[in-house]
Amino acid sequence: MTDTLTPVKKRSALTKGQLPKWAPYLVLGIALVLGAAVLALIGFNALGWGIVSAVFFAVGLVGWSAAVEGSRRAKDKLATCLVVGAFLIALLPLFSVIWTVLVNGLPGLTDPGFLSTSMNGVTGAYDNKSVEQGAPVVGGIFHALIGTVLITVLATVISVPVGLLTAVYLVEYGDDRPLARAITFFVDVMTGIPSIVAGLFAAAFFFAIVGPGTKTGAVAAVALSVLMIPVVVRSSEEMLKIVPNELREAAYALGVRKWRTILKVVIPTAISGIASGITLAIARVIGETAPILVTAGFATSINYNVFSGWMASLPTFIYTQILNPTSPSNPDPSSQRAWGAALVLIILVMLLNLGARLIARMFAPKTGR
């Protein structure tokens, strides 16, 4: 055996100076200590500590890297620091919101009867008693939950056929005709409509055709549809567009009519994307407050009929509980209920998003290897 095979540790001619693997951790430790020291001089707080340490960390690591590894690696480290920093900044509000709602909402949510009772007959006297004598907080969000579910389901029932058929027209029959271009333009405009305007439109529309003061769940559903339809059109259109033309031609070549091709080939191929787009559109409107307030009012009792009577919903429930507490002198029980409702709303939206992913996976064309 020649000694070329012996594992003599020799620096490869292809490498330059390199920072040791533990370098970032060392710099992080030093940055944290330095940051704490600087903050101690001007008064300590956690947010400032994080920011100052992050700046120290970036400067230290990039400077060290520039000295040892050269400018290209240093720029790489700088870019990494910026990207990770931006990521953390983006996550901060998200976690902060979830944390705040969890902490404030859990007492309300775990309150017995919170999900199964309404606010019917709950007066300020009960709230005063619970604050002054420690009695349990009564009242719940059942009526609001029912309202939200019914209004959203009705809005979906209205928007999905309209939106999906519009998308089918745009992609399969539009051919860049003036009508198709006009529809695309107006859908874009509709996407930007402020939600309160959609609410006022629905309210005015029903005032005109049914009678003044018509406030029902159905009016709210129409308002939400105005917000939902453009989202459904846009997402369905994108999904239908990416169905390969070859599949349409394959169906035509078998002597299949166009409408059957669309119904049996194009839509099934795109259904996973369409379904998840619809779910995200629902998640988008389920938290709307203003349009529901002007169209369905707010109720304290359970109302299963979307076509008559005012209806509560989770966002309007939160809004009224915070703005007009049930007991003006002791608003704490009301705000506890509001936070609980907020937590339920966030859980609903999360479930919808999870549902969208599940649907997308369930309907996705199988590769079957």
């Binding site: 070859e246 599949l247 349409r248 169906a251 070549a253 078998l254 002597g255 059957r260 049996k264 079957g368």
Partner: protein, 259 residues
């Protein structure tokens, strides 16, 4: 179960652009006819006019007559859907329906048209079509699996099975082997040889050896220059076209001097 095609004075347009000019050709039943020619000379465009797939493209239109056993495909009141159910087509890239199983892909022509069929009949049709496409032995144990899980060559044979399941008179093939490896190509060529016993087969190919191997008659298309329309230069027995063509351009093309 095969019909002849006669094309008379056919001009093919994309909006105002004349893509193929003045084609006259007679395609014999129960034979294989190959279209060869350089890229962009209009052979695929012309092929697509034979089952009215050309007009699927916005702005595309046709002047002239295409007669299927004497009936003009472009006559007034002719439903393109009827035409396409009699003249099937296989495309350049295998395109099985991704949402359907192998079995459903074969039955697509029947099922998508909502024709009622008993399970026994359907099973028999699936087996007959897959056997006809030389695919039965490879997939008979996994008919319920998605068609997109097959190899490229198998997918292309699945598409051929799908085309023959609707029992057409004519099968058009637009470069059916250009996306396949030599072994799958051989399998398809063997299949074409068997198909001509029952069907009229028209195939577009860039591969001149393939045209020489599989076809009875060959048509050579050429183009005078970019922007000019494609034309049918010469049409005759494959043997004649390849060994003793009468036009200089054909000889240059088949001997590999251009294109």
């Amino acid at each position: 179960m095969s019909k002849r095609i006669d094309v008379k004075d056919l001009n093919v347009y994309y909006s105002k652009f004349l893509a193929v000019e003045d084609v006259n050709i007679s395609i014999e039943p129960k034979s294989v006819t190959a279209f060869i020619g350089p890229s962009g000379c209009g052979k695929s465009t012309f092929l697509r006019t034979l089952n009215r797939m050309h007009e699927v493209i916005p702005g595309a239109r046709v002047e002239g007559e295409v007669l299927l056993d004497g009936d003009n495909l472009y006559g007034p009141g002719v439903d393109p859907v009827t035409v396409r159910s009699q003249i099937g087509m296989v495309f350049q890239r295998p395109n099985p329906f991704p949402t359907m199983s192998i079995r459903d892909n074969v039955l697509a022509g029947v099922k998508l048209n909502n024709r009622k069929m008993s399970k026994g009949e359907a099973d028999a049709l699936v087996e007959r079509s897959l056997r006809g496409a030389n695919l039965w032995n490879e997939v008979k144990d996994r008919l319920a699996k998605p068609g997109s899980g097959l190899s490229g060559g198998q997918q292309q044979r699945l598409c051929i099975a799908r085309a023959i399941a609707v029992e057409p008179q004519v099968i058009l093939m637009d470069e059916p082997c250009s996306a396949l490896d030599p072994i799958s190509t051989l399998a398809i060529e063997d299949l074409i040889n068997e198909l001509k016993d029952d069907y009229t087969v028209v195939i577009v190919t860039h591969n001149m050896q393939q045209a020489a191997r599989v076809s009875n008659k060959t048509a050579f298309f050429n183009i005078a220059g970019t922007g000019k329309p494609g034309r049918l230069i010469e049409y005759g027995d494959t043997h004649t076209i390849f060994s003793n063509p009468s036009v200089k351009a054909t000889e240059d093309y088949v001997s590999g001097r251009f294109g």
